[in-house]
Symmetry: C2
Subunit: 363 residues, 2 copies
């Protein structure tokens, strides 16, 4: 086990900086939408709610991917611009969350109604005609599209030199394609009758490891014009940590405290998610356990006793423990690769802090 | 009435050029998705079908917006790159169509099953679990997101000089925001009980006139580094023509031949679209006509006799004739502004051809 580097970076001021930029962009887009029609105001209202929280992990990995590898002149000159680039990833993430909630039929996000539910509620309140559900869905699709657009808009409005932006754009493009592709594979995994551990891990790789950690780091490295060894180290680090991060999220999706996850208890069960945790459970379950677990997955009427039963199966089969072991292994592999990465000591310390933020039990 | 300029431009070779680029991009993205998972292949299959047709109007306006205003050196050097930029708008349009069909619950597009229906059918064929409808919808949302991403990717991969791209990006950004905003206003118009002519015209302005004509022309002008007078002339031309274009589309949505529209007869009625045509009819209808028209709008079980009755109401109230008058006025205003625009004669002739393509009765 590698020694733990001193955790010197405090994410709170960083998050506050990101929030300031997010709020500036929202204010600007609010004015811009108001010139089109006052009816667009609810879009900004909902987005303001959604974007007022979050761990800002992708933003932090992008920012530190740059800062850990940038030269002194770059560091001195471009810090404020890099915060804007980092904030762009939060708009991309907002698109992913809004569209994901539509696809999953989720009711809540970060403790608030999901965007499609919020627009559905507006429809009902106003006694509009037609299906309130379809209206909510349509509005959420469009707000997600706006977020996807505003993300690269902010990237290019960051104030960074043109050559940096053109170096970063292909990385950004790959990241978006991998995100959407990973989301589709995830969707496909949910509807296939037989959970597959191998496929579940491929979903994790593209939807989470690459999108949340490796590519944001690569984006930072490209903006810093870092040498190839840095991007290679970021890949080793990012993919190991990214898998651990998603597995932690999967565990929280079943065992997490609603007050901390912002989602109802056992929400992943209700949505029938075919996670690595679930695939591991099926691979170890007795036929009785399999049948019970299958009955809970995707059950919209899931009650507290069902959640407890599912938790017991995940624990009794050893799936939970095996997942925790995978998380621990991924975390250690990430820390080990971080030790050897050709980056600044300050960067190493901050990324170590982020390892903890991405994988710890409570968020 | 201004004299009709000789219509010298043949859109067929242009469309063929656009198709070649679209196919190249699809081949490239097919390879790129295959490195992630073979399961992604259906995404490219469906997109290939969707993108193998279309009038390429947005592409043509963008291309001619540039060509009509560019200097000789620019014209000589950047023609091939501009075809790539123009093709980018076809990917943006693919996103709009795919997401629009999800929101409208449309079954077909360009004579093929809509993307969400196609994925729904795959789900049913494979006997997957869960809701096939939700699966189709999720896949279509993601494919639309991919198209939205690939559009600006292609813009930046066009081979144009960086300074041109940076001049064009803000125009591109405004265009996307106006498109999504316009789509939301359209959605909102469908659910409001009382059709409003004023609001319906605002929807047309943003969803169609700006997105389909004015902004593609502005994008071309920005890439040509044209003087401000050109963009101003393009606005006058584009907004007048764009309204006429959408009104023609609205007429075709009720009176069009399914063989030519690629949609079932009277599809706009079935979807309950609050178009200018419909708003005009309500403003002129007797209470009996109003009641009958209301019963047809949004009626999923609409039969041939219902379509005929709705057509009769639109004709008898004079709404059809009033709409044709608006189309004619818009077309004439567009042609008049084109006469005075500070652009090349070749450009003027091509844009005149496009006026006809955008507003003629049969497509």
């Amino acid at each position: 086990m590698p020694p733990i580097t001193t955790q010197s970076w405090d994410p709170a001021p960083f998050r506050a900086d990101i929030q300031v930029i997010v709020d500036q962009v929202l204010a600007q887009e609010r004015s811009s939408l108001a010139t089109i029609s006052p009816d667009l105001e609810p879009m900004i209202q909902d987005l303001t709610g959604l974007m007022s929280a979050g761990k800002r992990l992708r933003a932090a990995f992008c920012y530190w991917g740059w800062r850990a590898a940038a030269g002194p002149a770059d560091l001195a000159e471009h810090d404020a611009s890099m915060l804007r680039v980092a904030s762009a990833l939060e708009f991309l993430q907002a698109c992913a969350l809004i569209h994901d909630d539509v696809m999953d039929g989720s009711d809540t996000r970060r403790g608030l109604p999901a965007v499609h539910r919020s627009f559905q509620a507006r429809h009902e309140l106003e006694h509009w005609t037609g299906s309130s559900e379809l209206f909510g869905m349509g509005a959420a699709i469009l707000l997600g599209d706006l977020c996807l657009s505003w993300a690269d808009q902010l990237l290019f409005d960051s104030g960074l030199p043109t050559d940096s932006l053109l170096r970063a754009k292909p990385v950004y493009d790959i990241m978006r394609t991998e995100l959407m592709a990973g989301q589709y594979l995830d969707l496909l995994e949910q509807v296939r009758a037989k959970p597959s551990l191998q496929r579940a891990r491929n979903v994790v790789r593209f939807k989470s490891a690459k999108y949340t950690i490796e590519r944001p780091l690569h984006l930072g490295a490209a903006l810093a014009d870092a040498r190839p060894e840095v991007a290679i180290a970021y890949s080793t680090f990012g993919l190991a940590l990214g898998e651990a991060f998603q597995l932690r999220d999967d565990v929280l999706g079943v065992f997490g405290d609603p007050a901390e996850t912002g989602k109802p208890a056992g929400d992943d069960l209700r949505e029938g998610k075919s996670t690595v945790l679930i695939a591991l459970a099926f691979s170890r379950a007795t036929s009785d356990q399999s049948a019970r677990l299958r009955s809970h997955l995707g059950n919209q009427e899931l009650c507290v006793a069902d959640v407890q039963d599912a938790r017991a199966i995940l624990t009794d089969t050893g799936a939970l423990e095996a997942t925790e072991t995978l998380i621990e292994e991924g975390t250690q592999a990430a820390l080990l690769s971080l030790e050897a990465a050709p980056i600044s000591e300050e960067g190493r310390a901050a990324l170590t802090t982020l390892v903890d933020a991405a994988t710890r039990r409570a968020h």
